[in-house]
Symmetry: C2
Subunit: 180 residues, 2 copies
DNA sequence: GGAAGATGTTTTAGCCTTAAACTATTTTCC
DNA sequence: GGAAAATAGTTTAAGGCTAAAACATCTTCC
């Protein structure tokens, strides 16, 4: 157990810790720093996506999902994979269709369902964006030793497990982005 | 140097690595996992804030800033500290004033400027929210060994440095939240 | 066959966010 | 003193996000 950065040995099975209110300083600090890192990177990537390709992260994210499914996806499936609401997907799809990057067609077998997939143009455009995205991330992490990266990845795995077990795993990996 | 999870020894000072296009798999994976963790936690905290206090993270964030400044803050100062735009602050302040949690008064010496501060009610309400917030974070991290938390904090520091040096430090810690 | 429930999508309503335009006030500087 | 520039804040326009309700279309099961 660690409180306010100092190690505290648990003296017995019914430690006082449970009785006195804790401030959880260590945990808060960790969360704040995690949030800061994620926001720094996200802000920068968003800015570059806008500047270089005049697009947004959610749009890029959607294209990344579609790129992995050449046969296209139903909107609901897309929604699940992106971890965003259905309504959100509708708007993003509208936008990408309008730009000619994806096309949408009603399923012949189920008239409720719509399937979307990348167009030729969309696939080519995505390839360029994915390359740039990948390079940008590498650039931002360039000053971090590879060894530290390995360690960080491991510990984030541990964090992820902890959060999943605390939330009943009900939140399955919200919104991944640009996985190529 | 590590590529795709395997260690690769640099054979000489002018390694081929620089010439051939890389996929930066390791960096991408790290970024995706970081984003997943941040989003999982943020989503859950947002949900609970809504459910328990019928408020939002930005509102909580604003109250946290004000709590640290008993004499109140000018809107511009608030905007700088929260790292959001001026217009954004206007809307949030309107909402909190309307709920009676903060009050806003025009500066007597400069009629352009407005100073906002927590009301008594606001201070009491914030105390409850901050306690819950802190407990929630601790709960989400509960399954992670304290040792891992320490390591994670260190490595995130390393990451932060890398990103800052890559972006010229131009992005000064976007939006911290609920720092109590 | 038809009601009930499940499933897929869209709509609605409400926040948050930035950038840019705008108002009002204060400062600067001739 | 008074015009020009700087500053503080608000408003507006455009986008993105979410949850929940509404709508449409299958599937199930009597």
């Amino acid at each position: 157990m660690s409180i306010a950065g100092r190690k505290v040995e648990t003296v017995d099975a019914e430690s006082k810790v449970e009785e006195s209110p804790q401030d959880h300083r260590m945990e808060l600090r960790l969360w704040l720093r995690l949030l800061t890192c994620a926001n720094m990177i996200e802000t920068e990537i968003r800015r570059r996506m806008r500047a270089c390709f005049d697009t947004t992260l959610p749009r890029f994210d959607m294209m990344a999902q579609l790129e992995r499914s050449p046969d296209g996806l139903l909107l609901g499936e897309l929604s699940r994979r992106m971890m965003v609401s259905n309504g959100n997907v509708t708007g993003l799809v509208d936008r990408l269709v309008q730009e000619g990057l994806i096309d949408r067609q009603i399923s012949p077998t189920d008239r409720r369902a719509a399937r979307v997939r990348l167009t030729e143009d969309g696939r080519a455009t995505f390839a360029k964006m994915a390359k740039a995205h990948s390079d940008w991330i590498a650039e931002l992490l360039a000053d971090m030793p590879a060894r530290d990266q390995d360690v960080l990845l491991q510990r984030l795995g541990s964090l992820k497990s902890s959060v999943q077990s605390a939330t009943g795993g009900a939140i399955p990996e919200p919104r991944r982005r640009g996985k190529t």
